[in-house]
Amino acid sequence: MMDQTPVFIIAIPLFASLLLTLIGPLGPRVAYGLLIGALSLSLGASLATMVRVVQTGQAIHYYMGDWLPPMGIELVIDHLSAAVLVMIGVCALLSGIYSMHTAGQDNHDRLNNYYALFSLLVTGLLGMASAGDVFNLYVLLEISALASYGLLARGGGKAYFATFKYLVMGTIGACFYLLGVGYIYIMTGSLNMADLADILSRESLQESVSIRIGFTLIILGIWTKMALFPLHAWLPNAYSRAGTATACLIAPLMTKVSVYIMLRMMFTVFSADYIFNQIAWSSLVIYMASAAVVLGMITAFAQRDMRKMLTYIIVAEIGYMTGGAWLANTAGYTGAVYHILADGLMTLSLFMAVGAIIYRTGDTSANAMQGIFRRMPITAAVFLIGAASIVGIPPTCGFFSKWYLLQGAVQAGAWIFVAALLIAGLMAAIIFFRLLEAAFFGNLDDEGLSVGHSAPHSGTGAVQMREAPLTMLVPLAVAGAALLGLGIYTNEVVTYLIRWSVPAGF
C-alpha cells in the first residue's frame, strides 16, 4: 500500500469545492469554515509530503487508480513540486482567511459558489504542481483558468472586458500547449513526463523538427499563460479590476505556477542539454526577460492605481524568473525557483496590504496610502516588508532571490540581465518609496484632510487608528513574517529543496 498523503493535497479542496455548492442554504459562515478547513488540511498534507520528500531525498510517485505509468496517470512530487505545493497551500490558506470580509463585500449572494470556485482554482493549481502527465496538466490548467475567469469576472463593470481578453489569451495559451503536447505525442506516443523524458533523450529525436516545434508551442503557450513580455498585455487589466479577495488569490499564484510548469517542461520533460544546446534560444529569452523586467517596472512606475502598479510589478517579476531559468546554470535556476516561492509571498503580502488599505479607505489610487503608517500600522509594516522584498533589501527573501539571479547572470555573462535586475531594483525602490513616503508622513498639502478622512467615528486623538479587521490582519502579519522567515532560512530552502531539483547538465 502506498502512502496516500499526496492525493489528499488535491482531493480535499476538490471535495470542498463540490460540497460548497451544495451547502448554500447553511449560510456564509459554514462556507467560510469549510473552505478554511479544507485549505488547512490540504496545506497539512502538502507539508507532510514535503517533509517526506526531504527526509527520503526521493520523489514521491503516486499512481492514480493503481495503474502504473506510462499507461496510468501518476502524481510526482519531487523537491521542486513539494516546495511549490507548500507555497500554493500557504498563499491559498492565507488569502482564504483574508477573504472573509472582502469576499462577502464583493459577493452579497452566492458566497458559497464563489468559494467553490476559489477552492476549485486552488485544486487546479495544486494539481498542476503535482502532475506527472502532460495531458493531465492541460486539464488542470484549464480548470484553474476557468475558475480564474469566473473569479476575475466577479469584479463587475470593466472587469468583464478585461476577463474576456484574458480568456482569449488564456485559451490561446492553453491550446498552444495542447497542440505542442500533440506534436510530442505524435513523435513519442507517450504522455507521461518521465517516460517522455526517456524517449526524448534518444539520439534520433534530438534533431527532430517536430519535437522542436512541439517544444516551441508548449513554451509559447506557457509564456502566454504566465504573461511574459511581450505577451503580458492581458494581465494588468484582468488582475487589477478583480475583487480584492480574488486578486489576493490569483495574483500571487497563477503566474508562479505557470513558471513552475515552464521549469517542469524545460527540465523534466526536455533536458537542459536539449534546451540549451539544441534549441539554444537562451540569449533571445534573456533579452525578452530583461525587457520584461525593465519595461514592467517602468510601466508600474507610471501607474496611479496601486493594484495596477502591483500587476505590472508581477510582469517584471515574471521576467526575473524566466531569465533565471534560461541562464543555464545552477545559480540562475536556484534563483528562479527561489523566486517562485519568494514572489508568491511578496505578491500576496502586497496585494493583501493594498486590499486592506482599499477596504478601509475605499480608494484604489496611491492617495489612499497617505498617513497609513499611523492609521494602519500593521498593514503598513507588512507593506513595507513586501516593498523591501521587491526592492531586494536583506534580510527579506527578495534579496536572496536577487542574489542568486544576479550570481547566475554574472556566471552566465548575461550582463544585460544583470543591468535589468539592478535597474528594476532601483525602479522598484523609487516606486515604493513614493508610496511609503506618503504612507509615513501623509501628504504635505492636505495632511489635515487625510487625517480627517480616516476618522469616520469620532476618536480621541487627531489621528484615528483604524486597522483592518482581524481576519485580514492575521494573514497579513503571517505573510509579512513569512517574507522575513523565508529570507532568513534561505540556506535551508536552498539546501534541502532547491539543490535537489537542479537539473542534470548544469
Partner: protein, 249 residues
C-alpha cells in the same frame, strides 16, 4: 497591428506546415503514437477492466484522474456562468427585445417534442450504460439527456422547463455527479487502494478485481453523465435568459 498579425500568422503557418515533413504519415500503423502505449491499452485493457470499449476503459479507468477533472471542468463552467450571469430580474435587458413572442401557437412543435423527448431520454440512458460495449458513455449520454431538457425549453418555454427541472436541482446535480465520481475514488481510497483504484470496490460488491473495475467504470460514467446533463441545462438556462431566468430563446 492587423497586417502585422497577418504576416506573423502567415509565417507561422508556413513554418509549421513545412515542418510536417517530420511527422509520420496519415494513418501510419508504425507511428510512435500507434506503437508505444496504444497496443498496451488494446491488448491488456479487456483483461484488466472487462470493458470491450477500449476508449471507455482508458477514459474512465486508466486515465480516470483526467476524466474526474474533465467533469469538474464542466462543473466549473456552470458555476462560472452562473456567477457571471445570474442575477435576479433587474428589468432592463437589451436582449429581450429580440425575442419572439410565443403564446401557445406552436402546437406541432410541442407535439413533436412530447413524442421525442422520452425517446431521447431513454436513448441517453442507453448511450450512457452501453458505453462499455459500444461508442458512448457518460459524456455522450449526459449531453443527449441535457439536450432533451433544452428541447423542452425551446418548444415550450424556459419557465416550463424550469418547473420540471428546477435551477437549484440543476446545480445540485452538477455537484452530485462530480461528487459521485470523486466519492468512488475516495471509497477506493478507504478500501486501501489508491484514489480511483476501482479494484477497491471488489470487496464491497463481492466481485473480482477485474469486474470491480468494470462496475467502477459504470459508476463514474453515471456520475459524469449526471454532471454533464445538469451542466448542459444550467448553461442553457443562464445563457438563454441572459441570467435573469425570465425568458429563454
Amino acid at each position: 497591428m492587423k497586417p502585422f498579425a497577418r504576416i506573423i500568422l502567415f509565417l507561422c503557418a508556413v513554418m509549421m506546415l513545412t515542418a510536417t515533413v517530420d511527422l509520420p504519415d496519415w494513418a501510419d500503423p508504425g507511428s510512435p503514437a500507434s506503437t508505444h502505449l496504444s497496443p498496451g491499452f488494446i491488448e491488456q485493457g479487456y483483461h484488466e477492466t472487462a470493458t470491450p470499449n477500449v476508449v471507455t476503459a482508458v477514459l474512465a479507468d486508466y486515465r480516470s484522474y483526467d476524466t474526474l477533472f474533465e467533469s469538474v471542468v464542466v462543473f466549473a463552467a456552470s458555476l462560472v456562468v452562473m456567477l457571471v450571469l445570474r442575477r435576479t430580474s433587474t428589468g432592463t435587458s437589451r436582449i429581450k427585445h429580440f425575442r419572439p413572442k410565443r403564446e401557445g401557437r406552436d402546437t406541432i412543435l410541442r407535439g413533436a417534442a412530447q413524442s421525442i423527448i422520452p425517446v431521447m431520454q431513454i436513448f441517453a440512458l442507453y448511450v450512457l450504460f452501453h458505453g462499455h460495449y459500444s461508442p458512448g458513455g457518460g459524456f455522450q449520454g449526459g449531453v443527449i439527456f441535457g439536450a432533451s431538457f433544452i428541447l423542452l425549453s425551446l418548444c415550450y418555454s424556459l419557465k416550463f422547463a424550469m418547473q420540471r427541472f428546477k435551477e437549484k436541482m440543476v446545480l445540485i446535480c452538477c455537484a452530485c455527479g462530480a461528487l459521485l465520481y470523486a466519492g468512488i475514488g475516495a471509497v477506493c481510497l478507504a478500501m486501501g487502494w489508491n484514489f480511483l483504484g476501482y479494484a477497491g470496490l471488489a470487496g464491497l460488491l463481492g466481485v473480482t478485481d477485474v469486474m470491480a473495475r468494470s462496475h467502477g467504470i459504470l459508476a463514474v460514467e453515471a456520475g459524469v453523465g449526471i454532471t454533464v446533463m445538469a451542466v448542459m441545462v444550467s448553461l442553457y438556462y443562464d445563457l438563454a435568459s441572459g441570467g435573469d431566468m425570465e425568458e429563454g430563446l
